[in-house]
């Protein structure tokens, strides 16, 4: 008696669940061509593409306007973490940075820090020392170039 009730119960349950699945047309997700993740990349942020040696021309004498513009950017966006002396604050001091690093390295670091921290051994070494990922400070290529000019001036170039 007991066993047969259980059997019946099971049978009914299976039948119910089986029948239930008949109404499943549900939502048909449109396969949209639009890529939302991609759409959100059109921002004022200046995460640049990797710069190449050929993108950068370094000449003497220094471009005085660039030095000035670079210093203004330094004051607004860099000074909080970088001293103009050799002293480390959050990041390394800038004294002699143009002698330690190429302009290409500096500009990629400024405009493309994510790539550098992923791929460049020197940048990775700095992260281990400083323990703070250098923030993207929203510089474009031209702005980064003026910062290099200011660094050269800081290192005594004429």
């Amino acid at each position: 008696m007991k066993a047969s009730i259980i059997k019946m119960t099971l049978a009914l349950a299976i039948a119910s669940f089986g029948l239930f699945s008949c109404g499943n047309e549900g939502v048909n997700k449109d396969e949209k061509t639009v890529d939302l993740q991609d759409l959100t990349k059109n921002q004022p942020e200046q995460h640049g593409s990797e710069l190449k040696e050929s993108d950068i021309v370094v000449t003497n004498p220094l471009n005085a306007e660039w030095v000035k513009a670079g210093q203004a950017i330094y004051n607004l966006k860099c000074q909080s973490c970088h001293r103009l002396t050799g002293d480390k604050l959050v990041g390394p001091g800038w004294k002699d940075v143009t002698k330690r690093r190429t302009p290409l390295w500096i500009m990629n670091m400024a405009t493309n820090v994510e790539m550098m921290l992923e791929t460049d051994p020197e940048a990775q070494k700095l992260l281990e020392q400083c323990m703070v990922r250098m923030p993207n400070q929203n510089l474009n290529k031209e702005q980064a170039r003026t910062v290099v000019e200011f660094m050269r001036s800081n290192d005594g170039e004429k």
Binding site: C22, G23, G26, L76, S80, R133
Partner: protein
């Protein structure tokens, strides 16, 4: 025997449970079962985005919540009409003016309805509007920043419930008063002189096409009744607005009984193009009244509150053919126009039918003056003359109706706790599903527009009870997501919401996501107290005010040691976040501050006012985890007794004591 009886009971229970599931397949099934593939329909893989944004009223929280649909994940709570400690809204000196009104600063209101901006009757993804229900206000939220950009107080109104419904090109949003009240100079009248002294208004607020700025274009003076909800005409009925009204009995007490006496109340039809003509013709009367207009600038990163003192009022007795009443059974609540603009669905919340009115017939009745008398001098159209038909026995307590663009309407039923799908032309009921429990508003994606997106329907319920893990007497609110792609509605998901969800609107994510701002450019920061770079940090005394111009970046403040503050001083910390990286806000908190804390977005400046209450050294720190050295992001400020000779000084990175100046 006893045992087998138990088993039998179990069997019966299981069988009936099976039946409930089973009925989902039947044409007239209750559909209480969740679709078996529901999980895959609502699953959004890690790192992937939802298909829709859902902007949901936060009800008595005063805020607006944003969910991703179909996952039901909470993405953001946008502070609107209430202070929000999570964002510093209403705490920072820059945001306080947003909550200013003619009654002063109001920290907590009640947000009911959502209106997404439209162009050509379709969502354009620029702004979302919401109403402040208690102290009548309207808010505009900028969908680039997901922040409240503007709040406009509505004068001559009390309980801004019938709001902020929008016209098809965002020409106007409206604000109909829920309470009628005495207006003008003499408001001190006996409450039971209601019939003689109480009046209503509906306001038309223009929206600037470029800036979005709101302005009260005109108000219409109305009989002293209650306005509930509204919808703009669209397509052929563009130029008209429809407001549901109750309490045509003009009761001033126990409305539960006294405002339910008549068989029919009204839907008020407003010809707003005609109203515009009257405004142009100078028929408007300027009324003196104070109301606040608050705007927030993303350039100065601060709000301004301006007190306005005049509105233009149109009196229907000077403006014939501008408004008409249309009888509607039993205290109508929802008043919804279908995508074609031809049909207006009135939901008498105490009625047993749903009347559907025809715009063409309304126009014919007006042309032939097919009236059924008048109400306070305003023509009442004959019910039968304007009626397309009634949906018979749809359910109990119809509240709101939305549309799918395929000729179907979906009406929520509070009392019978269900959503009923019916055909607008034939008025035939097609399907019904239960809700959990007591649904109020419902929302179809794009449901109020000319071209609904369809696909999903969400029920926003008034009662939660046992839907989630219990959390004491106070529970999360309950929403249910249904698929409406097929002939039958299918339950997919329960998700909890904040406050009490009234209305909500869904919009395809791509219309908004692509414009979402990541940072504020520091070069554009025009806050007068911004410290643009460490060279501009300083501490200035102006009488008993001390202004600290401070910067922050991973992971320190400049300055981080401050001295020279004295008891009796008011200290303003103006903190500028120099970061230009997405999602790197910094927080600012100082021990003992009874005015809250700050949260500062990249490129932004925000100000905390602090009145020290004792002489001591107080620590401050960053409250939003920002880097591996976040725990090091801190500083001290010294407060000396009044009359002390400790000079103002400030520094970062300095470890030797200042010279104490000798007298």
């Amino acid at each position: 025997m006893k045992h087998s009886f138990k088993n039998f009971l179990f069997l019966v229970l299981l069988f009936s449970a099976g039946n409930i599931l089973f009925t989902g397949c039947k044409p007239k099934g209750s559909g209480s079962a969740v679709a078996s593939d529901a999980a895959s329909k609502v699953y959004v893989a890690p790192g992937k985005y939802d298909e829709f944004y859902d902007f949901v009223s936060g009800g008595f929280s005063g805020q607006m919540a944003v969910y991703g649909i179909p996952s039901g994940r909470l993405l953001r709570v946008i502070p609107v009409f209430s202070v929000d400690p999570e964002k510093g809204y209403g705490y920072s000196e820059e945001t306080k003016p947003m909550l200013n009104t003619s009654n002063g600063f109001i920290p907590w209101d009640d947000l009911h309805h959502i209106a997404l901006s439209e162009t050509d009757g379709v969502h354009d993804g620029r702004w979302v509007f919401a109403n402040g229900n208690n102290t009548p206000r309207l808010a505009r939220i900028d969908l680039r920043t997901f922040r409240t950009a503007e709040i406009l107080e509505i004068p001559n109104s009390a309980g801004n419930h019938s709001s902020p419904f929008i016209t098809e090109n965002s020409e106007y949003i409206v604000a109909g008063t829920r309470f009628s009240i005495p207006l003008g100079d003499k408001q001190d009248v006996a409450i039971n002189s209601y019939k003689e002294n109480f009046k209503g208004t509906v306001s038309f607020i223009s929206v600037d096409k470029t800036s979005g700025n709101m302005n009260i274009a005109f108000q219409i003076l109305t009989p002293g009744i209650n306005f509930d909800l509204a919808r703009a005409g669209k397509g052929k009925s563009h130029g008209w607005f429809f407001f549901s009204c109750y309490n045509s009995e003009k009761a001033n007490t126990l409305l539960e009984v006294n405002a339910s006496q008549k068989d029919k109340d009204f839907i008020m039809c407003v010809n707003w193009k005609k109203a515009e003509e009257y405004v142009k013709a100078g028929k408007g009367i300027k009324k003196s009244v104070r109301y606040a207009h608050n705007t927030y600038s993303d350039v100065t990163h601060s709000a301004t509150s301006t007190m306005m003192n005049e509105v233009l009022m149109l009196d229907p007795k000077d403006c014939p053919d501008m408004i008409y009443f249309m009888p509607c059974p039993k205290s109508p609540h929802g008043c919804d126009t279908d995508p074609t603009g031809e049909y207006i669905v009135g939901s008498g919340k105490l009625a047993a039918t749903i009347p559907v009115f025809s715009f063409t017939k309304i126009q014919a009745a007006i042309a032939s003056k097919n009236y059924d008398g008048s109400f306070d001098g305003i023509p009442v159209l004959k019910y039968e003359a304007v009626l397309h038909g009634e949906v018979q026995k749809p359910g109990l307590g119809p509240l709101h109706t939305e549309f799918d663009g395929k000729g179907n309407a979906y009406t929520s039923f509070f009392v019978s706790s269900e959503i009923v799908k019916w055909n607008v032309e034939s008025l035939k009921v097609l399907d019904r599903v239960p809700t959990y429990y007591s649904v109020g508003h419902l929302s179809v994606a794009g449901g109020p527009t000319k071209k609904p997106w369809g696909k999903y329907l969400i029920a926003y319920n008034k009662i939660t009870k046992d839907r989630y893990l219990p959390t004491g007497p106070e529970l999360a609110q309950s929403a249910q997501l249904y698929s409406i792609d097929g002939d039958k509605m299918k339950l997919l998901l329960d998700f909890p919401t904040i406050g009490e969800p009234h209305y909500a609107e869904m919009i395809p994510a791509e219309l908004i996501a692509k414009n979402s701002l990541k940072i504020f450019k520091i070069e554009d920061n025009k806050n007068p107290y911004a410290a643009l770079g460490d060279n501009n940090t300083k501490v200035e005394r102006k009488g008993n005010e001390v202004h600290v111009y401070m910067t922050c970046i991973r992971s320190h403040f400049t300055p981080d040691n401050i001295e020279g503050v004295k008891m009796g001083d008011i200290v303003y910390f103006h903190v500028t976040n120099l970061e230009q990286d997405w999602d790197i806000p910094h927080g600012f908190a100082i021990k003992g501050a009874n005015n809250g804390e700050l949260l500062i977005m990249p490129g932004e400046t925000q100000t905390l006012k602090w009145v020290p209450e004792k002489s001591a050294v107080f620590p401050f720190y960053c409250t939003d985890f920002c880097s591996a050295l976040h725990q090091e992001m801190q500083g001290y400020i010294r407060v000396s007794p009044a009359g002390s000779n400790v000079p103002i000084s400030f520094s970062t990175g300095k470890t030797t004591p200042d010279e104490i100046p000798t007298k």
